[in-house]
């Protein structure tokens, strides 16, 4: 167990964490803001990666390829949105249906189960190769940090607009939202599209970073994203109350998650078990607020409404 080995891996871990941070922010939008547990991401992350790689192969530049990946991600969100709003299928099942359908779609996009891209032949935005020994502006950590800040600024603005507020209201209380004239079905579809667009973008970055897109690359994406959201909220929630800071906190949560994962692997845990531990960690973190409520809340006597009118 050489600490140096762990440290050497850190720049890569940091980049990976930030890339997944974008997916985590997308998942935050559905899970927390829209109150919609969206499993589409277990397919759409791969869709984003596949579209990006295939576009690059076809000679498009990296920016266009990533925009296409984002757009493809948005389409997957649209599909889930239609399943849920137009066809009345419950949220989780809607996501699972899209996810399953995407397995075929992703195979069709890639033509086979995985596609490798050579960083020397294509001009990529991020890569494991760019995490050390390159100029700061080309360094993937820097690029990703800037990307996240940019993204947070845009989302901060968006959720302050009329449309963004309508989306938040829909997630918080959809009956009230409708009573205030908000088309909640539209809000849900829009939220799912934004979320999966970000997840697709994250997949596009991830496939560049690791140098390949793989049919299984999105497996468990929802759990990783939720882990990032939960860790981000647990660690930074105390200080980060502002919406923008909360999003930054989630990106940081994603980085922390990958640091923990790397550390566990470094300690000699069989990588095959990593998904198991990820699932357990998320399960426990999800249980904590429930346990707190059930076992650790002292019964309180509610005050009368005297001065509370």
């Amino acid at each position: 167990m050489n600490v140096l080995n762990l440290l050497i891996a850190m720049p890569g871990v940091l980049t990976q964490g930030l890339i997944w941070g974008i997916a985590a922010i997308g998942i935050y939008i559905t899970y927390r803001i829209l109150d919609f547990a969206d499993l589409t991401v277990d397919g759409s992350l791969c869709t984003g990666g596949a579209v990006c790689i295939m576009m690059l192969f076809s000679g498009y530049n990296v920016v266009i390829s990533m925009l296409a990946a984002t757009f493809a991600g948005m389409l997957t969100g649209l599909a889930t949105g239609i399943f849920h709003t137009f066809m009345g299928i419950p949220p989780i099942l809607s996501g699972i249906l899209t996810q399953l359908a995407l397995y075929s779609v992703n195979l069709e996009i890639m033509g086979k189960a995985n596609q490798v891209i050579n960083v020397d032949k294509y001009n990529l935005l991020v890569s494991l190769r760019y995490t050390k020994g390159v100029s700061i502006y080309k360094n993937s950590i820097f690029v990703m940090a800037v990307a996240i800040i940019l993204l947070v600024v845009i989302l901060y603005w968006f959720f302050g607009t009329e449309l963004g507020c309508a989306l938040r209201a829909t997630g918080c209380n959809d009956g009230m939202a409708r009573a205030q004239g908000i088309n909640t079905n539209f809000s849900k579809v829009l939220g799912l599209m934004i979320s999966n667009g970000l997840v697709g973008l994250s997949g596009a970055l991830l496939s560049q970073y690791q140098g390949f897109a793989d049919i299984n690359m999105a497996r468990g994406a929802i759990v990783i994203g939720l882990a990032a959201v939960i860790i981000g909220e647990a660690v930074f929630g105390r200080w980060f109350h502002n919406f923008g800071l909360k999003l930054i906190g989630i990106a940081c949560g994603s980085v922390l998650y990958f640091i923990v994962l790397q550390t566990v692997t470094w300690m000699g845990v069989d990588p095959n078990w990593l998904k198991f531990f990820s699932a357990m960690i998320v399960a426990i973190f999800l249980a904590i607020p429930y346990w707190k409520d059930k076992y650790f809340t002292k019964p309180t006597i509610k005050e009368g409404g005297k001065n509370h009118a």
């Binding site: 009329e162 938040r168 209201a169 205030q180 005297k306």
Partner: protein, 264 residues
């Protein structure tokens, strides 16, 4: 202002739980009328409200608001004509959003929502003044999350939200039922003030007969999805709880047995 023509709504049709909630229900509300609605459990009061608000489609009949047929209009589209306050204080507001954000949501009812700012500085000043009129000290807590407010505060806020854009019709669905008597009185006082100030056509469900008599200029009583009593003008002014109980017995052929309705 509002017209219901032969509206019928059946819940769980074809099952043992079949319930005719509205039975060929017709009613017309004139402009500026303040109608109080009473009736026992399952009489169809809330069903009538939800039918007007478009929570679900009705089985038969027509609903017209200010002459426009809204029967086929979805809930969020009808919202442009309606201000609604619910029985449960949690239902009318978005708990995780601030007071001013909730008001700003209501301010945009009936208008398209675009990428313009969700709330402007000018609006904030307006909200501050309107909140000050409520006398609940909310004007200094514009950014407070609504989830932190008491039930009474939330109902008062919901009332303000419902009337921020002057609605063609104000629907109050037992909006004081979940409050303690003193808070309920305060919310009713605010209701009376807002309705009079803006001359709002109002439909108010209440389980309290006294409130139903004191407030408004017309009273209807529902039973089994039909109107069994409709009193207005001078006749309503002279009405007492005893009269109501008597009329209820007359109209329905049975005693009005709900203690809550008598004592509430």
């Amino acid at each position: 202002m509002l017209e219901l023509r032969n509206v019928t709504k059946v819940f769980n049709p074809g099952t043992v739980n079949e319930k005719i909630a509205l039975d060929n229900f017709s009613m017309t509300l004139e402009d500026g009328e303040f109608v109080t609605v009473i009736g026992g459990n399952g009489a169809g009061k809330s069903t009538m409200m939800n039918a007007i608000a478009g929570v679900w489609p009705v089985d038969a009949g027509q609903i017209l608001i200010d002459g426009e047929d809204v029967t086929k209009l979805s809930e969020h589209k009808r919202a442009k004509y309606l201000g609604r306050v619910f029985q449960d204080p949690m239902m009318g507001t978005a708990a995780t959003m601030g007071i001013e954000e909730n008001l700003a949501l209501a301010k945009r009812r009936g208008y398209g929502r675009t990428l313009r700012a969700g709330i402007t500085k000018k609006e904030r000043e307006d909200y501050r003044q309107r909140l000050a009129i409520l006398g609940l000290g909310l004007e200094d807590r514009l950014t407070t999350k609504v989830g932190l407010l008491s039930g009474g505060q939330r109902q008062a806020l919901t009332l303000l939200m419902a009337t921020l854009q002057k609605p063609k019709l104000l629907l109050l669905d037992e909006h004081t039922a979940a409050l303690d008597p003193k808070t309920a009185a305060k919310v009713l006082e605010i209701t009376e003030y807002i309705v009079n100030k803006d001359h709002l056509t109002t439909l108010m469900i209440t389980h309290n007969m006294k409130d139903a008599i004191v407030h408004g200029n017309r009273l209807i009583m529902l039973m089994d999805g039909r109107i069994i009593l409709d009193i207005r003008g001078e006749e309503k002014k002279k009405l007492t709880v005893e009269d109501l109980l008597h009329k209820f017995g007359e109209a329905s052929g049975e005693e009005f047995t709900s203690d809550k309705a008598i004592l509430g």
